[in-house]
Symmetry: C2
Subunit: 147 residues, 2 copies
DNA sequence: TGATATAATGTTACATTGTAACATTAAAGT
DNA sequence: ACTTTAATGTTACAATGTAACATTATATCA
């Protein structure tokens, strides 16, 4: 068994998050493929294991996993990705650099941004969600552009 | 004529951005309605003026307007909104607080975040896009949640 | 255990956002 | 006016997501 998956299961047990079989399979898929996946891509993988699985299956499970901070949903390109910490506590802030060209994602934890965000949260009485999506061009895609 | 629209047209003339009739109408719609609109909502408005207009018309025009920094595209809820500055120079950084409940958007300009982002851009060699979407719950929707 | 309540999953149908490929029309240049 | 180019219209489709209801597991309790 994959080490990451064990840790997630451990975390879920400790925090009273009951994973159904279906949800466990989705975690397994997201963990093993590693790169960000769209709902459809996850579905196709899941269907290899459970041919009856369909879009609803995925979205319901993903909703729960996102809500529990186990995976991140990235709005920019409709992808889902395992949180690098294997779980995301509510007091834990992270940022994701999303390349608008290739879709590559890099999870970072920048104190300055976190502080600035908390300040903004106070100033505007805005209850921040996690994570912060930072879109732009990754190094590789900048190179491609200049060729 | 709306004052904002005049300023945008002025800006486009000064910067060699040729607006077609269709694009002008879309700017007019976005400016006058003010609240963030989805592509479909803009389409329905446009069709009142040009019954032949369809989805392609909208998306092609929106693409150009976004590219020229006249409007912002917000990925979180697929909406388009006039840049508060009526145009967005490339060296101009802004952030949008997007409420994940009601969709309300507040454009801000926070120096700390801008600085931190520029730093991250350098560190990771990541070419930042504008604007930054900050999702969360606005004041009103926080109240609703606690009722 | 077996009946019943509850939660999870499956099914069907649909709404929304967006794009691809090609046809038509308008605008610009000669 | 003829040609070229750009803009727009048309059709068809792909992807993401949700709503409403049916079915199947799972848990609870008499």
């Amino acid at each position: 068994m994959h080490l990451k998956i064990e840790k997630i299961i451990e975390y879920c047990l400790a925090n009273n998050i009951l994973l159904t079989n279906q949800q466990s399979l989705i975690i397994k898929i997201i963990t093993e493929i590693a790169s960000p996946l769209t709902a459809n891509e996850i579905l196709h993988e899941l269907q290899k294991l459970n041919p009856k699985a369909n879009r609803m299956t995925i979205h319901r499970a993903l909703e729960i996993l996102v809500k529990n901070g186990i995976i991140h949903k990235v709005a920019f390109n409709h992808t889902y990705k395992l949180c690098d910490h294997l779980y995301c506590k509510h007091d834990h802030h992270c940022q994701i650099l999303v390349c608008q060209e290739c879709g590559n994602q890099t999870e970072i934890h920048n104190l300055k941004i976190t502080e600035a965000l908390l300040e903004i949260g106070k100033t505007y009485n805005f209850n921040l969600a996690n994570p912060l999506e930072i879109t732009g061009l990754c190094t590789k895609c900048q190179m491609k552009g200049t060729l």
